[in-house]
């Protein structure tokens, strides 16, 4: 969120010091009698509430002067004002909806055709627009009205596989974040509140996971335990395993953040007040500490989603994640990359979609960070 008090050029000059800063009227008044003059960089001395108020005046929204906003409401408004973040939030939502609703529609679009090796087997769109359907009579087809993005080396529809692959990315990310948040918040809050052996355990475990990067751990787990999981749970077993491994490797970092915040909260007056009126520990933790963790948790989770999506793609690209006939963007790149000179589109489509997905999520995360944790950036 950027609020420009003075025109761009003036600020540039001020910070380089080439021209003495031109004080605004308020600043000039303060220079006469008030405290030290303000440096114009980024409204350094304003509180967030003041900044919000100003931003609202500029956008001619309802001015909320004198009206108390809860921190969550304030953050949501800040997010709503950030046009870039809203754009990418919408994009993320559209991608998610399209990847789930798209297959339902796509499997009903298209003519009934004759396919199969001899070209004599009747096929309907719900078959050849399914992401696992192979037809060796139409391999490496360019995009056409029949296969919108073409087909891969064994005649599977690329668009259908991309949508299934995006589903996988989303599902893994969701599962990892559920693990991350539940373990991170529970253990981080308890370790921060009570300290003791739990805090020591958390420290040691974080050290361990710091020296054992999540990706390597997940690759190792996927390679060694993957076959067993696949036997027990079928094809989704691999996904569950990858998500579990990634979740195990990220939660300590969330827990550390949460513990730091809890340590600060524990010393606040409202906790003391709550204790004075006789609240139990569990009540203090659940209704006073956990709600106050919301901001840092949502920011950390939003930023971590990107890592998870990339990690899943990497693991599948190495052939250790999702197995064929399942689909994943990484797997699609892996399948086609050796033929890139002959059929470039089979690599380009999944790569493009992965790029868009990652960028949309990271711009969204950036916006969420600005809105929910405005002091971390500038």
């Amino acid at each position: 969120m950027k609020i420009e008090e003075t025109p761009d050029d003036f600020q540039a000059l001020e910070t380089t010091g080439a021209v003495p800063p031109i004080p605004s009227s308020a600043e000039a008044m303060e220079m006469v009698g008030g405290p030290a003059p303000r440096l114009a960089i980024d409204n350094a001395d304003l509180t967030q509430a003041e900044l919000d108020l100003r931003a609202e005046r500029e956008t001619r929204e309802v001015v909320t002067e004198g009206q108390a906003l809860s921190p969550l409401q304030a953050s949501m408004r800040r997010l709503g004002r950030d046009r870039r973040a809203m754009f990418f939030l919408a994009m993320v939502l559209i991608i998610i909806v399209m990847s789930y609703v798209g297959p339902l529609i796509y499997t009903h679009i298209g003519p009934n055709i004759m396919g199969g090796a001899a070209g004599l087997t009747p096929e309907v769109p719900s078959q050849y627009h399914n992401y696992v359907w192979t037809d060796l009579s139409r391999t490496d087809a360019p995009s056409s009205s029949l296969h919108w993005l073409g087909t891969d080396a064994i005649g599977r529809d690329l668009l259908a596989r991309i949508m299934a692959g995006v589903n996988v990315s989303i599902e893994v990310a969701l599962l990892v974040e559920i693990l991350d948040i539940s373990f991170g918040v529970a253990i981080g809050a308890l370790a921060g509140f009570y300290g003791g052996w739990l805090a020591t355990f958390l420290d040691r475990f974080t050290d361990l996971m710091f020296a054992f990067p999540g990706l390597l751990f997940a690759i190792l787990a996927a390679a060694t335990l993957g076959p067993a999981f696949q036997q027990k749970l079928g094809l989704p077993g691999r996904l569950v395993l990858v998500a579990l491994a990634l979740g195990i490797s990220v939660w300590p970092f969330m827990a550390r953040l949460v513990r730091g915040q809890t340590l600060q909260l524990r010393e606040q007056q409202f906790i003391e007040a709550s204790r004075t009126v006789g609240s139990s520990d569990s009540r203090i933790i659940l209704s006073h500490i956990v709600p106050n963790l919301f901001n840092i948790v949502i920011v950390a989770a939003a930023l971590d989603v990107v890592n998870t999506i990339v990690s899943e793609a990497v693991i599948s690209l190495l052939g250790l994640g999702v197995q064929t006939p399942g689909s994943s963007l990484g797997l699609m790149i892996n399948d086609a990359v050796s033929q890139i000179a002959i059929n470039p589109w089979e690599v380009i489509w999944p790569t493009l979609v992965l790029t868009i997905l990652v960028l949309a999520f990271s711009f969204m995360g950036d916006g969420i960070q600005d809105a929910f944790n405005p002091r971390t950036k500038d």
Partner: protein, 339 residues
């Protein structure tokens, strides 16, 4: 004598590490050093135990894989005995720890003529070259640009830099590789001069992987430098420096930059430590004979001593770099006392 000479690089490295530890001991105090070393021992124990358990329960049999068509019962038994695989799990792990104390990482399960050390010695330098040169490139380009963005904070120039750096920061570098491949294929088909798409060792194979790997960390450096410079430029001492009429260059580099360096050092230390694991995808797609590709091969072919070796090397290198980070902190900012 020949043996000593052939191990010269290793000996020099070992001597450097010992010298560094002694220096650290003086600089930060022996108690601190002892605690760090104890932490390292714990981490090595932990990561090797995790790796061992995963390897122990993994399906597949390295001995059967290695013998292949030459499989006989007697041969398999002899090989199992050589690796100590005929013993119960906890004894295997104990033996591994005993060997580790003697700096012996064991023999590869995929090829009994190779020790894990020789494999690491062959593959790690390649990855380290790739990782360190791209990191250096990223720092050299990213830090000045980040400073420029901080000095011009909230101008149009800054907004553009911010947006592009977020794109580069978020985008996994491997998604660029297919497009690079296509560009090279097109250049080659037109008979124009071009770089290579795979291999390692010559400048035309090394340029692209280094540049593509550098993109991510370049954006990272840019963003960190910008944030940290903006923070510093708000401080009173910067205003004082300006007020007493120092030139802008002196203010920026002498007063602000030195203080802004701390967060940059914080991200640099571990990044240097992590180069010893290599890059899984970049090495795979460019077919670079680095440790990233080798450890994936080792994982897939159940060559667990090599995996163990990589993991332990990583733990040691991260720990050493963290220690180095603490020392450098003290040099850059004498106020910082590590405790």
């Amino acid at each position: 004598m020949d043996q000593i000479l052939s191990n010269l690089p290793g000996l020099i490295l070992a001597a450097l590490i010992v010298a560094f530890l002694v220096y650290t001991g003086f600089r930060l105090g022996p108690r601190f050093l002892v605690r760090r070393v104890a932490g390292l021992v714990f981490v090595i124990f932990g990561v090797s135990l995790i790796t061992f358990i995963l390897g122990f329960f993994a399906p597949g049999d390295a001995v059967v894989n290695q013998l292949g068509v030459h499989y006989t019962k007697a041969g398999a038994r002899a090989l199992r005995h050589l690796y100590g695989l005929d013993q119960p799990g906890w004894i295997q792990y104990w033996n591994f720890l005993v060997r580790l104390v003697h700096f012996d990482l064991g023999i590869s399960w995929a090829d009994r003529s190779q020790t894990v050390w020789s494999i690491l010695k062959q593959f790690v330098p390649v990855s380290a070259t790739l990782g360190l040169s791209s990191l250096a490139l990223a720092a050299i380009l990213g830090i000045p640009l980040g400073m420029l963005a901080a000095v011009r904070a909230n101008t149009r120039y800054d907004t553009v830099i911010q947006t592009f750096s977020l794109v580069f920061y978020a985008m996994p570098s491997f998604v660029i590789i297919p497009f690079y491949d296509l560009a090279i294929i097109w250049l080659a088909s037109q008979g124009l001069p071009h770089l290579q798409v795979s291999g390692w060792g010559t400048w035309d194979t090394m340029t692209a992987p280094i540049l593509i790997t550098a993109i991510n960390s370049f954006a990272g450096y840019l963003r960190f430098t910008r944030t940290s410079m903006i923070e510093v430029l708000r401080q009173d001492y910067v205003r004082t420096a300006r007020a007493k009429g120092l030139s802008e260059r002196l203010v920026l580099w002498r007063h602000a930059f030195r203080n802004a360096l701390l967060p940059i050092i914080t991200i640099t230390g571990p990044s240097i430590g992590f180069v010893v694991t290599g890059l899984f995808i970049t090495e795979d797609l460019f077919n670079i004979p680095g440790i990233g590709q080798e450890s994936i091969n080792a994982i897939v072919s159940r060559d667990f001593p090599v995996v163990q070796g990589t993991v332990i090397l990583l733990a040691v290198s991260v720990a050493l770099m963290n220690l180095a980070t603490d020392v450098v902190y003290g040099m850059v900012d004498p106020r910082i006392k590590v405790s």
